[in-house]
């Protein structure tokens, strides 16, 4: 049963995954080119100090990609289920609807992780080519809230798509956007060092939010 669901999910999300992997690669290559160009034009030491002292984030082009990837994956996974009430069919499958939803979410999360691994490895490779290890490490620490926003975006979008009424969808969207906003507050590097885990806990809460709209869907609540 799970294998069949996995196959079904894969059909829905493969092109989104490929698309975002391509976008990430392109952006990472651009970051590399941009770094090379800056170092060539203004000198390595100035470029380094601009990053260290003025806190210019040379990888800021990546900022919203995880969030968009998360939302796109959720849409790809759950919108086809919601059109023509297809998802209601799966309530007749010999599997608990809660388990199924959580399994689908798990697949989506792992797919998101693939994008994140690409981002992290890419930052390590492009970073080490031009910058000392301290700067590379700070880039990895600085992108973690953005990756967390990707996970939150995926979970929130799944919940919003599964929700059956537009009124609730709007409420949940406002709340989700208000939360995403909190993960993009940085003006420099390493700024979430002491508070990251609090924001992480809130994202853990997001991980089971899909069940309630799922339940409403099964009940046919308005």
């Amino acid at each position: 049963m799970y294998k069949a669901i996995l196959y079904k999910e894969w059909i829905k999300i493969k092109w989104v995954l490929v698309g975002f992997a391509a976008i990430c690669l392109a952006v990472l290559v651009y970051i590399g080119l941009d770094s090379r160009h800056n170092i060539e034009m203004s000198g390595a030491i100035k470029t380094w100090l601009l990053i260290i002292q003025r806190k210019v984030l040379y990888y800021s082009l990546l900022k919203y990609i995880p969030l968009f990837a998360g939302i796109a994956l959720a849409v790809a996974q759950f919108v086809p289920e919601m059109t023509k009430n297809r998802f209601r069919l799966s309530f007749h499958l010999p599997i608990d609807e809660k388990r199924m939803l959580l399994f689908m979410i798990l697949i989506g999360l792992l797919t998101n992780m693939l994008v994140y691994i690409l981002i992290i490895v890419g930052l390590m490779i492009t970073g080490s080519a031009f910058y000392p290890q301290e700067i590379v490490l700070s880039s990895l620490i600085t992108v973690t809230p953005w990756l967390l926003a990707g996970i939150a975006g995926y979970l929130a979008a799944s919940m919003i798509v599964i929700e059956s009424t537009w009124k609730n969808r709007i409420i949940l969207s406002i709340i989700s956007i208000a939360y995403f906003n909190l993960l993009f507050l940085e003006n420099g590097y390493n700024e979430y060092r002491f508070s990251f885990w609090y924001y992480f806990i809130v994202v853990i809460l997001f991980s089971i939010t899909i069940l309630f709209p799922g339940y409403r869907l099964r009940k046919g609540s308005k």
């Binding site: 080519a129 301290e134 709340i175 508070s195 997001f206």
Partner: protein, 413 residues
């Protein structure tokens, strides 16, 4: 059961987000500017003077005895602070307390710096440029490498992103020779080219001793200072100034502030009663006669005056009504049982600080509980089925009320 938990997860998320954003909206809507007086010390009348925003939104100029001045008269009391204006009007006195003064004399004998709380809460990559401090040219130039201190002092050449072995070797040897025990506890300097000259870095080693490290004609300069290792140094602020009286200041864990002087690294404790570096910003002003130090938090503004040898002359304090004690602040505590702060001017970090409002919020909570009760009655919900809703409101007040009413419960299986 899991479906119920899922609903509460959504509710908790709403509570958290409301606690961040709603108080913010509240202050954006009702926040008022409060008057924060700025205190000076007048060498003309030997007393404190200050100006503050009056009721009519105009600045009032007052001295410590309560006498009022107009702006021009006020500035005339403070020739060291407003000498440019006084000079423009042609009323700069020739002597003050017997000392002949003019614009260039005042300028040469003045110095100021500021210590703000965010400087203590600021993420910083630990890589520093070591400037050539005895260059043949006037302007400071960026070196080709940055240094880090681990088990040795390592120089990384930026152009090639590789370790410069020869610099690493001579500096590590020099530091070891001087008695430096690796690694460093912290490194403080003023790594900018926008300063008149360079004094390098003050580096605290693993045993707590302070070392002064510079690059002089490409060679290492390293001195083990006699600053006590048990001083409990928290941070050293370096600011080079042509007066060459002190390198900067040393802040200790016990919130004492010392000047680090050119006199063989002798340290002088500044008489700052009640100074809290995490919450207050401090301004130091040296003029030809006095040293004036102002520090201010949300509840008070203090001005300390010392003579040139840092003996206390006088202090003056003005109490300020903090935002939390204004009517708007009190109503905030009534409405919101707690708030979550993410950003503050006192830190460069993004926080997640939960501040509880205390007992005042009980009223708000009771009102929220009653509203919830009546709405549920009106919606004909069974009160006992979702009793946990009330517990959430009892803890989170109106945030909980908002969340519980927005996310209506279902008829559970």
């Amino acid at each position: 059961m899991l479906n119920k938990i899922s609903r509460y997860a959504i509710i908790l998320i709403i509570v958290t987000i409301s606690a961040v954003h709603l108080p913010n909206f509240y202050w954006k809507l009702f926040g008022k500017r409060i008057s924060r007086p700025i205190i000076y010390y007048s060498p003309v009348i030997d007393d404190f003077v200050y100006f503050k925003l009056g009721k009519n939104n105009k600045l009032n100029y007052i001295d410590a005895s309560g006498k009022r001045y107009n702006r021009k008269k006020f500035e005339a009391l403070l020739p060291f602070d407003f000498y440019r204006d006084l000079d423009k009007w042609g009323v700069l006195p020739d002597t003050i307390k017997g000392i002949p003064i003019d614009v260039s004399f005042i300028r040469k004998n003045s110095q100021s710096f500021r210590i703000s709380p965010y400087k203590l809460h600021n993420p910083l990559i630990q890589l520093f440029p070591l400037f050539e401090s005895k260059s043949n040219f006037t302007n400071l130039e960026l070196p080709n490498e940055l240094f880090r201190i681990g088990t040795k002092i390592e120089f990384i050449t930026a152009e090639t992103n590789t370790i410069n072995d020869s610099l690493t070797k001579i500096f590590t040897e020099k530091l070891t020779e001087t008695g430096f025990s690796f690694p460093a506890t912290f490194i403080d300097g003023n790594p900018t080219t926008r300063k008149p000259f360079d004094e390098g870095y003050f580096i605290v080693d693993s045993k707590g001793f302070v070392f002064h490290v510079k690059r002089v004609k490409g060679k290492p300069f390293c001195v083990k200072t006699n600053i006590p290792a048990d001083l409990g140094i928290r941070k050293i602020f370096i600011s080079e100034n042509p007066r060459r009286e002190f390198y900067g200041t040393i802040l200790t864990q016990s919130e004492e502030l010392y000047l680090l002087t050119y006199d063989n690294y002798k340290i002088i404790k500044l008489p700052l009663d009640g100074y809290n570096p995490d919450k207050m910003s401090l301004v130091f002003l040296a003029n030809p006669i006095y040293r004036v130090i102002r520090y201010s938090g949300s509840e008070s503004r203090v001005c300390v005056v010392t003579d040139k040898n840092y003996n206390l002359v006088d202090t003056y304090e003005i109490k300020v009504t903090p935002l939390s004690k204004t009517i708007t602040g009190k109503i905030e505590k009534f409405i919101f049982p707690f708030t979550i702060n993410t950003r503050s001017g006192r830190s460069k970090y993004v926080n997640f600080d939960v501040n509880f409002s205390g007992f005042q919020s009980t009223y708000g909570i009771i009102i929220s509980l009653l509203i919830c009760f009546f709405v549920k009655k009106y919606r004909r919900e069974n009160l006992m089925h979702n009793f946990f809703d009330f517990i959430i409101i009892a803890v989170s007040g109106m945030y909980g009320l908002l969340a519980v009413l927005l996310v209506k419960p279902e008829l559970w299986d």
